[in-house]
């Protein structure tokens, strides 16, 4: 029973990473209408930036995380302005943006390979909280608790932002129709910039935390998050932050429990089997409602 509880906690921590990444990916897809293949590289680069801040500048843990998060956000802004803004200005639609995002994926992945010397680096011991708390006899690693807390804060914060604030209303309006939103007094340009930064920062946070807890800072970090985060977005629904968060955590738990009790080779299989099942049963995600479209 204790083993089971431990594995559920491991699953929650892993799933929290997927959830954080999925929130960023979903925000971009819902608001900007871009299927962003470069999104995983934001996570890799945020982790690399946080590692550099720790090793080169000797910043303490909270500031190093902040450096990574800001780096993720700024990188997302840069990619948005270089790769997507010219296309948006011409009204070129989602397809061309998909290709420019693939281009940036190739570029940033390859540069991340150079930055880490084609190796998998890790954060030095003692640069992050490694304390072990105990609940009865069950160990609770500080890093896992921190990851789950970060996910909960980000999910509630962004959910409130999108659903309850004026800015969130502007985001949803731009996501539905940019021109109509502009007529309604929204500045789409600002909304786009803020959304890109927020999405990059959220995924950057996922990248930094994943880099610490998996001891792997390299270009492959973002790729793993991208595939699983993408699955969470499809299961949870891209237009609802809560859905992506719940789906991310559920995928994490399912993965860890499968690896523990069934077989490690089914670990990835279970994610995608769940994905297929959800596509068949609830194609619009956990919180999806049947919408209607006027011609």
């Amino acid at each position: 029973m204790e083993l089971f509880a431990e594995q559920v906690l491991n699953g929650c921590a892993l799933g929290a990473l997927y959830a954080l990444f999925a929130i960023g990916f979903g925000l971009v897809f819902a608001t900007l209408g871009i299927l962003n293949a470069a999104h995983g590289t934001y996570a890799s680069w945020a982790a690399i930036a946080a590692l550099a801040a720790t090793e080169r500048l000797g910043l303490p843990f909270p500031l190093a995380v902040l450096a990574g998060v800001v780096a993720g956000g700024l990188l997302a802004l840069f990619v948005d302005q270089v790769a997507f803004q010219p296309l948006r200005a011409r009204g070129a639609g989602m397809l061309a943006a998909l290709i420019t995002s693939i281009a940036f994926w190739i570029i940033l992945d390859s540069l991340a390979g150079f930055a880490t010397g084609q190796q998998s680096l890790s954060f030095p011991q003692g640069s992050y909280p490694a304390r072990m708390y105990h609940l009865g006899t069950m160990p609770l690693p500080a890093m896992q608790l921190l990851t789950i807390a970060a996910m909960l804060v980000a999910t509630f914060g962004i959910h409130l932002l999108v659903r309850r604030s004026r800015f969130g209303a502007a985001m949803r309006a731009v996501g539905w129709n940019g021109a109509a939103a502009a007529l309604g007094g929204v500045n789409p340009r600002m909304v786009v910039l803020a959304t890109a930064f927020l999405a990059g920062a959220t995924s950057g946070l996922a990248g930094v935390l994943a880099g610490i807890s998996t001891q792997n800072v390299s270009f492959s970090l973002g790729e793993g998050l991208l595939l699983k985060g993408f699955a969470a977005v499809v299961v949870g629904g891209y237009d609802d932050v809560r859905g992506a968060a719940i789906a991310g955590v559920a995928l994490g738990i399912a993965e860890v429990i499968t690896a523990q009790y069934l077989s490690t080779s089914l670990r990835d299989g279970i994610t995608y089997a769940l994905l297929l099942g959800f596509l068949l049963v609830r194609p619009r995600g956990l919180f999806g409602r049947a919408g209607f479209v006027r011609a």
């Binding site: 061309a96 993408f230 080779s265 919408g291 011609a295």
Partner: protein, 287 residues
């Protein structure tokens, strides 16, 4: 003359891969031309490729005879996929098809009887490059005939505006179903041709990379004409080769930058029928 034969030897396989990528890109173009963004061509290619490979290995027949089996396999799979996907709306369909690509790899890993599992599958079969080019030309001819048929016109109408198309008596669902079937058949063929080109299939052969190659070829070349898929595949296959020859150290970066620049300056792709029509209209006005 030596120079010519050396170049030919060096770039023969690039030409072969360009032709195979063109076939796969045409599979993606087939659904895109009816207004559906779908990456499921990868799954048709995987099914057709592995099935075709098994047929070649066990029945001992050549690639040309395995081709019909692969086409049929791709077509059947695309029918099943279309039954599910056509219930979804645009954005969700794109996500779902990408999910299908991820699922394909898991299925390939867990069906070792058909796919060789983790170890992959070696296919010691050769297809002369001339035959490959001929097959591509035949396929291009078919797409040209389709583009000017009732189906091609209906597909264009459905892509531009499904509601208007429906009000004119075309059933968007039916047109898109046909598009899926064409995509499946062509994708299956592309899958087996890729298998013959590579002579080895691994679980990663039919995965995200090839999905992005297909869609990038179509959009790069121009998604409003079938020739765009062929031109895009040629450019997309040649780019890494050129990048490696010019800047070997930064080949991936150069490749990505080239892709980025082409898309930013030509967002509708290299081959754009609308631009041709405008130019023709401008000439007529000036004359």
């Amino acid at each position: 003359m030596d120079w010519l034969s050396d170049t030919w030897a060096a770039y023969q396989s690039t030409l072969g891969f360009a032709a195979v990528n063109a076939v796969l890109a045409l599979s993606t173009y087939a659904v895109l031309s009816a207004g559906v963004l779908s990456f499921a061509s990868v799954s048709y290619a995987a099914f057709g490729g592995f099935l075709g490979a098994q047929v070649m290995l066990h029945a001992g027949i050549g690639p040309l005879l395995a081709l019909p089996a692969a086409i049929l396999a791709g077509g059947v799979l695309s029918f099943l996929v279309a039954l599910i996907f056509l219930r979804l709306e645009g954005h969700w369909m794109a996500l779902a098809s990408l999910a299908l690509v991820l699922i394909t790899r898991v299925v390939v890993l867990n069906a070792p009887a058909l796919t060789g599992g983790v170890n992959g599958l070696s296919i010691p079969v050769e297809l002369p490059i001339g035959v490959l080019i001929l097959l591509l030309l035949l396929l291009m001819l078919i797409f040209q005939r389709l583009a000017v048929s009732w189906y091609g016109i209906a597909a264009r109408a459905v892509r531009e505006d499904p509601a208007v198309a429906a009000s004119l008596g075309m059933s968007p669902r039916r047109v898109q179903m046909i598009a899926f079937l064409i995509s499946g058949a062509v994708g299956g063929a592309g899958g087996v041709l890729l298998a013959v080109m590579l002579q080895f299939l691994s679980p990663d052969t039919y995965f995200v990379n090839i999905a992005f190659t297909m869609i990038a070829s179509v959009v790069l070349g121009g998604s409003y004409h079938w020739a765009g898929a062929v031109a895009g595949a040629a450019v997309f296959t040649a780019l890494p080769v050129i990048a490696q020859a010019v800047v070997p150290a930064m080949q991936d970066v150069a490749n990505g930058v080239a892709l980025l620049l082409i898309m930013i300056f030509l967002p509708r792709g290299l081959i754009d029928p609308r631009a041709w029509r405008r130019r023709r209209a401008a000439r007529r006005r000036n004359a």
